[in-house]
Structure formats: C-alpha cells, structure tokens
C-alpha cells in the first residue's frame, strides 16, 4: 500500500484535531505517514497519539524549529518525506500529501506543489481512491456546487478543510519512527519574533460547533454582544459574527463567519441582527437548521431561514435564552 504523507499540527504536546482528520482521510488512500516538525524529541513524544489516530509511520523532522522559522521548514520536511516514501515504496511512490487547509497549510501546499511540479487541490472536503486514482471533492461558492478533481501529474498535494472528514482510522500500536534531515535556505526565511496566540475560551470551536449563534451589525455595539453570548451559552454553542460586526469592532475577527471568515455547517445556526448578505451566507448556508431574528421583514436571511422572526433581537433572544434554560432545568 502506498504511503500517504500527512503534515502534523501539534501544540503543547498534543496533536490538533485536524491532524486526526487528515490521518482518517489518509487511511482511505493508503498507509498514513505522519510528518512531525519540532525541536528534538517532539516526534517520539507524539508517536503514541499519532499511532492511535492511524499513523503507520512517523517521520521526525527535527532540524528546523517551526516556532522560529515560518513554514519553509515544513515544506522541506514534506519534500524529504515524499522522497523517502518514493525510495522505500519503489516505483509507486506516495499516493498524496495532505495538509490542513489553513492559511499556513495552503501556503505550505503552494510551495510544495511548485517544488514537486505536482497538481494542487486546495480546500477539499473529502478524498477517495477511485480505481487507483485520488479524487478530491471541493465545496464551491459556499456549498452552491460540489466539484471533484484529480491531478494529472505528480504526487497530489491536497489541503483539507478542517471539520469536514468524519470517522476514525484504525489505530496502529507502534508506528515506526524515521528521521529526516532537512535544511532551509536563509534567503527564503521568514522569522517569527513574537507569537500572539488567541485565547481559546470555554466555548466550542467555531468551525466544528454543532450550534452557532451569530450577531451582526444589528447588535449595535461590543457591549451588547453579551446578548449573543448568553444565548450561545445556554445552547452550548459557539459565537460567530458578521463582517460588519467585526469591522465595527463589536467582536474579534477570528469569529467572522462567511466567505472570508470561517465556514460553518452546524446542526443549528442562529442569526441575530444579520441581514444575510450573499458573502455571509456563503459561510453558513449549508447549516442544517437556520433560525433568524431581524427587524426588517425583507432581510435576505429570511430566504434561507427555516424559522424566521421579524422582531427585535434584544427582546426575542433573551426570551429564547430563558425558555431554553427553563427546559434544560
């Protein structure tokens, strides 16, 4: 079985959720090989978790510190892993390279595709092996279309959208660790002087949340956003925001839902004071159930709402929150 190279994302000694998803996707295409980048000892410390998530082999690329040098170390490590897999797998070579479709992942994939002269498939939501060919599914224009693509040359370089792959790969008890030597060219180096991580908070992660409650310009101010947060909290959901709410400074940018923000597809999406511009809808219209509260009866959000209330969010949302609280006891 061909190797499938997966770039591991990890923090504080744990692999990120998306890495588990990538290993699950990889197992559908072949034998998952996880590439770990970090200071010496990182790979060994993660091997058990990676095996549990389906990695058959772990490549340890520990000569470039990714907390100091941005992304070119990851590119070099993936290139070395592809070469190692080709050498051990004979003519077959690896079936694909999978990275997360974050900004960083898509940058890594872009550089790697040029280096390997390989077809690039970006932001895919599913992968499958069909008659020996890797086929990737993309969700276009916020889910308005589904397209399926394959590459015509090279090892497919694929970035996979988080929260889109379900299931789990079979666990592997003791994955083999293989060291990779990598180098980066100083001329292409971007150096990090300071990391400014976002606070994780207690709410579910926006992209994977089962329930999302979002506020728009209609919320009116940063102070008023507690109305959105309180409803999200009684429902156990994540908080989102429209671009207008973010750009007006009501809520931090990482919570933006839409074309240029996070794409969400929860069981329930509640839109409070959001008009439903096409670019907002592009990030939430595949939600299973949509509830909207807007005082303008002609707001376009009602065109896709399963349950719409023409009314003031400041009376409707608190009433809903207290009704939910009562039911939950």
């Amino acid at each position: 079985m061909s190797e499938v190279i997966v770039l591991v994302e990890h923090a504080d000694g744990a692999i990120r959720k998306v890495t588990g998803e990538l290993l699950t996707a990889a197992a559908r295409l072949g034998a998952p090989s996880a590439v770990v980048i970090g200071p010496a000892g990182t790979a060994a410390a993660l091997t058990e978790q990676l095996g549990a998530a389906g990695a058959v082999k772990v490549y340890a690329a520990e000569s470039v510190d990714p907390t100091k040098v941005l992304l070119t170390g990851q590119v070099a490590a993936l290139q070395a892993a592809v070469a190692a897999a080709a050498a051990s797998g004979g003519a077959q070579g690896p079936a694909a390279v999978l990275v997360a479709a974050t900004f960083d992942g898509r940058e890594i994939a872009g550089r790697l595709a040029v280096r390997l002269d390989s077809g690039l498939l970006a932001d895919v939501v599913d992968v499958a092996l069909e008659g020996g060919v890797v086929v990737a599914t993309q969700s276009v224009f916020g889910g308005a279309y589904t397209t399926r693509y394959q590459v015509t040359r090279g090892v497919p370089v694929i970035s996979v959208r988080g929260n889109s792959i379900d299931g789990a790969a079979d666990p592997v008890s003791s994955p083999e660790i293989v060291d990779l030597a990598t180098e980066v060219d100083a001329a292409t180096t971007t150096t990090v002087s300071e990391w400014l991580p976002e606070e994780a908070g207690d709410r579910p992660e926006l992209g994977g949340a089962k329930i999302v409650v979002s506020g728009g310009r209609g919320v009116g101010s940063a102070d008023n956003f507690h109305v959105v947060e309180e409803l999200a909290d009684v429902l156990g959901g994540a908080v989102g925001a429209s671009r207008a709410a973010v750009d007006s400074g009501y809520y931090p940018h990482q919570f933006q839902v839409g074309q240029t923000g996070t794409t969400v597809s929860p069981q329930l999406y509640v839109a409070l004071g959001i008009s439903g511009a096409i670019q907002h809808r592009a990030g939430m219209q595949t939600s299973k159930t949509i509830v909207a509260v807007n005082k303008d009866t002609d707001a376009p959000i009602f065109e896709i709402a399963d349950y719409g209330v023409v009314g003031d969010l400041f009376t409707v949302a608190p009433q809903l929150a207290s009704a939910v609280k009562t039911r939950k006891g």
Partner: protein
C-alpha cells in the same frame, strides 16, 4: 522601493456566481467582473509603501482582455504602470501554470516587494503568494494586517487561524495582505483621468519565454472529474414577534429535537 501588486479580476461576490454545467469551471459571463476587493487592499498597501519610501507601483494581472478594466481601476487609485499577461494559450491555466506565467512577468520588473491578496474570492486556493515566492526563491510573508520596511528588512504582523505573530524577512519578499489590513482608497476624478494615459504593457506567453507545450487547459496539472449543483435551502416559516416569538423559537427547536 519598487513594488508590484497583483490584481485579479473576479466575479462580483454580490452577484450569484455560477459554474458552467458543461465543464464545471467558473462561468465568467454569468456575473459582473470586478477587481477582487482583497487586491484593491493590496494596491493600497503598495501605494502606502511607495509614498513612504519612494519608487513605483506596477500592477500586474493575468486574464482575458476585459481584465484590463481591473488594471485601470488600480491605475486610477494611483499605481504608476501596469502589465497585462494576455494570451489565448493561457486560458484554463491552473495555479501552477498561472504562477509560472506571473513569475516570468514579475522577473522582468525587478521589484523589491510583490504584493498579492491572501486568497482570491473565486478560487480561494491561497497558493499564489507561496508559489511565486518558491519560483522566485524569495521569502513569503503572508496574511499580513500591518507592514513596514526599514532598510532591507520587512516587518509585519500576520494573522492566521489560532492567532497572530510578529515576523520579519529580508527583501525581496512576496507579501500577501489579509482582509483586515485596512480599507482601500477610492479613485478620485483626477486619478481616473490620469489612469487613461498611464502605460499598460501587454505580454504574451512568447514574450515571457514560456514553453508552449506547458500551457493551457490541456497541460493543466489538475482536471475536473465531475460536478453538481447543490439544492440550496428555501425559506421556512416566518413569524412576526407578538411578544412570544422567543418562546416560539424554543418550541420550534424542541420540535426539531435541537434542544
């Protein structure tokens, strides 16, 4: 300091965008074509850099004839000159091919900084800045929300999923701008008039020395297998708040087994 800014003409995101059902590629005729909003922000940053440090802004696009409207828009904002990579043979190019053609055009310009959007609103591959940096052997500083240049060092704040970072790199660099980098200036009447006489050079694949056997859809590295439109949601129930609508939503959620 000389800057090149890449600008792409894309279907207006305010209109309903379509794929062609024959081959599932973007139907560019179905909606209005505009400069990608993110690229007008790139032009703004390019202008700010040259206003501070001197030098010129060259805007560069690859696309069909009508993409020249996008160049004019950027020239009207204040860019000094433009390059249009235009050739029938380039139609249907994938990201690898586009990056090869744009890199060839950019090599002719001898700039210190190349600015792109972090992701185009039509393709959303977010790969072009990285591909160009790789082809040119430059550093890439992507998804920036603030940038400054001192001597030969570029310092920037970048924001990605999970947080931000302060980073630096040595010139020359490829910079990609994040949506939150700031608002672009509007072209004024004077700018629009001045744009009419600014130089636009048109370069073909042959001008760029591109290998004819590597071009276009038939030589693309990716290929569509199939496509399908997805039935979108239609409107459900709509009620006007009579003082009980919050409780009404709760009942709806219970009926849907959502709570």
């Amino acid at each position: 300091m000389d800057v090149a800014v890449l600008v792409k003409q894309v279907p207006d995101t305010y209109s309903e965008r379509k794929l062609r059902e024959s081959d599932w590629v973007l139907d560019r005729d179905s909606s209005d074509a505009v400069i990608d909003e993110i690229d007008s922000k790139g032009v703004e940053i390019g202008l700010q850099l040259t206003e501070t440090h001197g030098g010129t802004v060259t805007v560069v696009t690859m696309g069909p004839d009508r993409a020249k409207e996008t160049l004019r828009k950027a020239l009207a904002m204040g860019a000094h000159k433009a390059v249009h990579v235009l050739d029938e043979a380039l139609a249907g190019s994938d990201a690898l091919q586009t990056s090869a053609a744009l890199a060839a055009a950019l090599r002719t310009l001898e700039v210190d900084v190349i600015i792109t959007g972090n992701e185009a609103t039509d393709g959303r591959t977010a790969s072009m800045p990285a591909m160009l940096a790789e082809r040119l052997g430059w550093a890439a500083v992507t998804s920036v929300t603030a940038v400054s240049v001192e001597g030969s060092v570029v310092s920037a704040q970048r924001v990605v999923e999970g947080g931000a970072a302060r980073v630096s790199a040595s010139l020359p660099v490829v910079l990609s701008v994040n949506e939150k980098v700031g608002e672009p200036r509007y072209p004024n009447f004077k700018g629009i008039m001045a744009a009419k006489s600014k130089p636009v050079s048109v370069l073909s694949a042959a001008d760029l020395g591109l290998d004819a056997s590597s071009l276009g859809l038939v030589n693309a590295s990716t290929q569509v297998v199939s496509g399908a439109p997805r039935p979108l949601k239609s409107a459900g129930e709509k009620v006007t708040d009579d003082g009980e609508a919050g409780n009404g939503i709760a009942e709806f959620l219970v009926a849907q087994r959502l709570i």
